[in-house]
Symmetry: C2
Subunit: 200 residues, 2 copies
């Protein structure tokens, strides 16, 4: 594996927030999930659970429930901007939290496991890189994570196969980008932050 | 970028826990850090902070402090196994938490930022993949994360450039693997866990 190409693949991953209806081929989806499953885990615990939703009816139902539950919440001072945006959009009544992507992968883990977010995020990053390698767009989706203690959402996800001992740590929208050439935008946003300090 | 090669790169990353003394070339280290810096961040906040330690004296001092602070703790029932192991090894008096790797990268983020672990873990995963592409070994290191509220450790890291508003979310040991051929072991451990559920 050429190191320069690896760096290019990693650097050219960029969040996609507009998707076409084109379904993701099952073999590509499997490669993305395989990349996620091969992420490292604390003490090799392998407790990351991938809940794959591509059924349009389920996606629609989940979107309605997410909007309904966010619309009951109130924006408070110093609230994280994206949560506040989800609440405002939900109160507006037309909120599709997963950007209408053809596939949503929810990444869950054991609630009482200290590395649940760390392991899940590594799996999500692997899946984002793999999606990029397959010319697919992807975007980290946090809305279900923010609602992971919400009883309505918990009950719905339990019907889809999540256990009560699991929490949703993150999610990934996956699909073909709605761009002119059908390919993901590859030029990364500049990194003005994310500083590096060398201890001397 | 060939998708099969990308998957192979991701799947062949495996934790390295034995390193040679060979220093990591600055240009390779920079590529690893660049991969980390290009990880996604919540709302594009870019608050991930990479503290790179390759100075042997600093590494030794930090290792002594980490051992000292763990040795003051007691193993309790139901404690996460790796934390309990760190405490036991520290009480034994010969604990080098970073596996004597030539480089330790601590990944910090804002304490009051809800996505601090998510963003940091994505950066760490990118760095692990990049290290693998460069024929370097790496291993997620959690000990400083577990001690991120410890006043002795905080004070020491503050002297290295971490602000009091930052916490350590994880760390990465990087170096050349101490293997017969000098290359990382590439055969991944089987994934018996990390299940996939398709919502139907």
């Amino acid at each position: 594996m050429n190191a320069a190409k690896a760096l290019e693949l990693i650097k050219s991953r960029r969040s996609t927030r507009k998707y076409t209806d084109r379904p993701v081929e099952p073999e590509k989806l499997m490669q993305i999930l395989e990349a996620g499953r091969y992420a490292p885990s604390g003490g090799n615990s392998q407790t990351t659970h991938f809940l794959v939703i591509s059924n349009k009816e389920i996606l629609r139902e989940l979107a309605v429930l997410v909007m309904q539950e966010f619309s009951k919440m109130e924006v408070t001072e110093n609230m994280y901007a994206s949560i506040a945006n989800s609440i405002r959009a939900s109160k507006g009544g037309k909120y599709i939290f997963y950007y209408n992507a053809p596939v949503l992968i929810l990444v869950a883990n054991q609630r009482d496991y200290g590395n649940n977010m760390a392991d899940s995020a590594c799996a999500l990053e692997n899946m984002m890189i793999m999606a990029n390698a397959l010319d697919l767009g992807s975007c980290w989706i946090n809305q279900v994570h923010w609602l992971t203690d919400n009883p309505v959402i918990c009950e719905y996800l339990s019907g889809l196969g999540l256990s009560g001992e699991e929490c949703v740590c993150g999610g990934l929208a996956v699909g073909y980008p709605d761009t002119e050439d059908g390919l993901p935008v590859r030029s990364p946003l500049p990194r003005k932050g994310n500083p590096v300090t060398y201890a001397e």
